[in-house]
Symmetry: C2
Subunit: 331 residues, 2 copies
DNA sequence: CCCTCCGCCGAAAACGTTTGCACAAAAATT
DNA sequence: AATTTTTGTGCAAACGTTTTCGGCGGAGGG
């Protein structure tokens, strides 16, 4: 059916071993033979069957990135980082989506168990910490962006507690004392940590926590709109709102805009993620920027290191974030 | 090193053939043997090496989706369609990004040539039509969303000419006669077709074409802003603007908003794609919606059909689009 | 009682590579 | 000139599966 290395060998009048050697740029092969092989390859339009190769070498030089969906736009930058780091080491990055289904996430990890890829990095896993820990013992798994409590797996992320605290502290430094929080019902670790940061900032500044100021919704923009409405209808309105994601913040601002609130003066808004739209949407949103590219790069570098060595680094690396100050905080 | 089918066979006291049979749910195996094998599999934590399997069966049951980047948010829906159709047939979908680099796109297609995947779908390819046509002769390639002129490859897309015409016709039906067009310098076929639709609509309604009303920029929102500014500074301002993408339209509206133009009355805006943000951004954008999910579903269905049969369907399928009317056209 | 058939199973070939080993010829060293 | 080293090459094993083929034993029909 298909053209194999044997056909090339025959056409070039050499053995398959020799063909393999010139294809893999091994040194001990004569110029004549090499030329003959290359010509045959070109003539026949041969390209090697990686299933055979990978089986023999038992490595695929491929890494699988497992994400929830391609919708979260800031995954894009992380993936670029991953690809860059992978390319340096001669690896390819493949992407697959879990559709928020832990069962399907497990199915995708099957590619790892079945040696179809050499390693996998989880971005926002749906599986529980214990399961991932267990799988991580025998397979090359890493996590990125999102950490999991008690998960003994190589992780690259940011310090979400600190980041949340920094954002809220900034709002406080602008004289705000009544700060709303719009977060999610779904308890991802990053949400939890960012909320924790919010709490800490309040506490450190002697501002009493008021539970009426926190709204639990979903990750949709519409949920932010609802949250903002709820907060603004409080007897004592907030003078600033911290949302745990930019999408939510944009939704919240939509409510504010529609009711004529003077954003950046009357109420300050702070988001998280610095998605592309946060500087397209007017007014421009102040937000926390994650080093997306760097996280992706680092997680792949560390993962590949783990794959090559006997010992396995299971550390949690936290990369520095930064505050991006724009119009919604009056900057 | 790793646990193989041999180990399972030994543990279950049967031959590897039997193990393979129970793993593949073949009928002719006794209940006793099956049970023994299943127990052994569980005990040893065995999972089959797909490299071996795929090599033997010479199929991987995987399809590669090649996209420019994960940034374009409406890819997401297409991918879901692809995954759904693939799952039905027992295939997985992998995603890889070209980073807008034709050379890297070719590298990714190498996965197809090297039998690491059974088929590939190109979404917005960077390679030229001729190259893709040639590769399509010997490999299972399909295109989705974007068609290429003179490209003899299975394609699923929409009728962009017709869609552009419909959008502009709608603006005309609202009494507009001076309609601006914001498009891209980069000549993708969809842009060309949408422009063509714009022209046709004007012509059919006896509106003379005015080249000053068309602005050539990039795909960024900022470019839309610039385009809108340019159009609005014309001696005779447009009374409607059609942008070939929602991102551009949103950028354009940013300019309009900042200069106090009454969107939806003074100037109508029409976008294209119906991205997620087009109904979050206020005012809500009227736009052309593509059947993304359906395109993805169909392209995979057709591709798999091609893979199974000897003959190869190279048709272009055009799925119906629809107009979504919102605030920016006064609806 | 013999033959046939069927259910179940194992041996071995095959898929397409890479690579250790052996070996001849050529080159370099005595 | 005799020895050793180097260079280039081919043979064949190995990677982990699936699947064909044939064999064995027992059941059922004549």
């Amino acid at each position: 059916m298909s053209i194999t290395i044997k056909d090339v060998a025959k056409a070039a009048n050499v053995s398959v071993a020799t063909v393999s050697r010139v294809l893999n740029k091994k040194t001990n092969v004569s110029d004549d033979a090499a030329e003959a092989v290359n010509r045959a390859v070109k003539e026949l339009g041969y390209s090697p069957n990686f299933l055979g190769r990978d089986l023999r070498k038992s490595e695929t030089r491929r890494i699988l990135a497992i994400i929830a969906s391609t919708e979260q736009s800031f995954y894009s930058e992380v993936l670029r980082g991953m690809e860059e780091a992978a390319a340096v080491k001669g690896y390819d990055v493949l992407i697959a989506t879990t559709r928020d289904d832990p069962k399907h996430e497990m199915h995708l990890l099957g590619m790892l168990f079945s040696r179809s890829v050499d390693g996998a990095v989880l971005l926002g896993p749906k599986l529980d910490s214990e399961t991932i820990s267990r799988l991580g013992e025998n397979h090359n798994i890493a996590m990125c962006l999102e950490r999991l409590e008690n998960c003994n797996v190589l992780t690259v992320t940011i310090d979400n507690v600190r980041a949340g605290k920094d954002a809220v502290n900034y709002l406080i430094s602008k004289g705000r004392r009544r700060i709303g929080l719009i977060t999610t019902k779904q308890r991802s670790q990053s949400s939890i940590d960012r909320e924790l940061g919010y709490m800490q900032a309040l506490e450190e500044n002697g501002i009493p926590f008021d539970e009426r100021l926190v709204f639990y919704g979903s990750y949709e923009a519409e949920s932010g709109t609802k949250g903002c409405e709820a907060l603004m209808k409080l007897p004592e309105k907030p003078d600033a709102i911290f949302s745990i994601s930019d999408m939510i913040a944009i939704g919240a601002m939509n409510y504010a805009l529609s009711t004529g609130i003077d954003i950046g003066k009357e109420v300050l808004f702070f988001g998280f993620d610095d998605i592309q739209y946060s500087h397209i949407f007017v007014p421009h949103l102040s937000t926390v920027r994650q080093p997306c590219f760097l996280q992706g790069k680092m997680v792949v570098e560390k993962l590949i290191e783990n794959m090559k060595s006997e010992t396995s680094d299971k550390s949690i690396y936290m990369l520095p974030h930064s505050l991006i100050l724009r119009e919604t905080t009056g900057d």
